[in-house]
Amino acid sequence: MAVIGIESSAHTFGVGIAEGGRVLANEKEMYRIGTKGMIPDEVADFHIGNAGGVIRRALEKAGLGSGDISGIGYTRGPGMGPCLQVGQLAARFLAVRLGIRIVPVNHAVGHIEAARSFGGLDDPVALYVSGGNSQVLKLAERPFRHYRVLGETFDIGVGNMLDTFARKTGLNPAWGSTVDMAGRGGRYIELPYSVKGMDFSFTGLLTKALALSRERGMRDLCFSLEETAFAMLCETAERALLLTNSNELCVCGGVAQNARLRGMLRSMAEEHGVRFGFAPDEFNADNGGMIALVAERMLDAGRSVPVGRCDIEQRYRIEKAHVV
């Protein structure tokens, strides 16, 4: 029997279907950011308009009917309230309608699970990098099994930093991959590099890069912004690997789609004889497949929740989530 996963924490409304740890379908619709960024209520409207269609598409893709579904999971958080609400409502509706079990899932755990599953890793140090989050994590057993935050950003996520730079300098679409393209072949300009132990911060880097955007060429600036930010992430991941004596590393989250970041991490991992893995791009960008993977495991472990107790939590910290 298959499990549906619904993701709606930010710009993507995603529906995945998993069975036996394999993803049978991973459909999504993504809100177009344009040059303004995301306005939560407008994104929520977008999700409402797409929910039914994406769910149907996922079932078709998997070649399943509603009778083949035994459970459903949805993203409880972290994310933007109005957006989370849509996924939660859709999941509750389906749970009642089909009479199946339901389980809330932590979005970040979903990202790590995708990297673990597709990367063939068991217990990696995880670098989770997206718009809203940037953390270095590792599984811990006490007081319950959860991902422990070894290090994280003091201020904004690395994706948010790149997106903001893109938006304020008029790049279109205003997000990280545009910065990445614009920086190809650039030369390095020294920018603030801010690492404290295994924590790091990006606002100083962003402020300096914006201040320089009038006098320096965009290509060099975009290149240097990315190089500096990624070197900071690499250094903290490296420190976490050595501190925890781990032999596996994964990168996940939207920014994990960046080939340069992955190349840097691979080079660092190889130097230490560490296995390095990640998921295909469609599972690094927000998606329902990763939520379905986690939901299936949680339901197998008997972690379903009564429909009436299903809720959302905008600041659902990863270390609060029970991992099975």
Binding site: V195, K196, R239, K320
Partner: protein, 194 residues
């Protein structure tokens, strides 16, 4: 002979004029662009050497420095046990609090003040690895030094450390207030569960 490897440097044991010394070398990281790599290694080496010698001069117990190059620092070898490997460490924790208070009084923050960077040999407690240290007169950075220790040790050890810090620091109360503020900033609320 290689005796230690951290995330950003290797430590070799060498004999210079018949004396055993440690040399800390920041070796190139292939993963980052050459200019950034050299800039990071150079500025950190220089800053580390300067801070260590200034701490030495002011009576803060850190390894003595003999020479520094662009990417390497030659320093005294310190014998003892790392605090993180010790079972009973109340005394050493108190001494660590006193040392950190003195360092902060000199306007220096350590940047990675954890039990992995403190060596105790009986009552002789010394702080090592100033790779992430900096000059700072701000409460924020000082509070982060305390936060790193708080996250790294059990509550009882931390209390011994904190009380001693308070007793020896002129601005201790204010800095602990800042620490409480940092912990209240969403991201830290539930960070340590163990």
């Amino acid at each position: 002979m290689l005796v230690g490897e951290g995330a950003e440097a290797r430590i070799y044991s060498v004999r210079v004029f018949g004396k055993r010394l440690l040399v800390k070398v920041r070796e190139p990281k292939e993963y980052r662009v050459r200019e950034l790599d050299r800039a990071i290694r150079k500025s950190r080496t220089r800053r580390e050497a300067r801070i260590m010698s200034s701490l030495n001069k002011n009576g803060v117990p850190v390894p003595r420095i003999f020479a520094a190059g662009a990417f390497s620092i030659y320093m005294e070898r310190v014998d003892g046990k790392l605090l993180k490997d010790m079972r009973r460490r109340g005394g050493a924790m108190r001494r660590a609090g006193e040392i950190l208070a003195k360092m902060h009084g000199l306007g220096i923050v350590h940047g990675d003040f954890t039990p992995a960077n403190i060596i105790a040999n009986g009552s002789d407690v010394r702080v090592i690895d100033f790779g992430l240290s900096d000059y700072s007169s701000g409460d924020e950075e000082k509070a982060v030094d305390l936060l790193l220790m708080k996250r790294a040790v059990p509550a009882r050890s931390y209390r011994a450390f904190r009380d001693s810090y308070l007793a020896h620091s002129k601005d201790g109360k204010r800095i602990l207030g800042r620490l409480a503020g940092i912990e209240l900033r969403g991201r830290y609320q539930t960070r340590t569960l163990e």
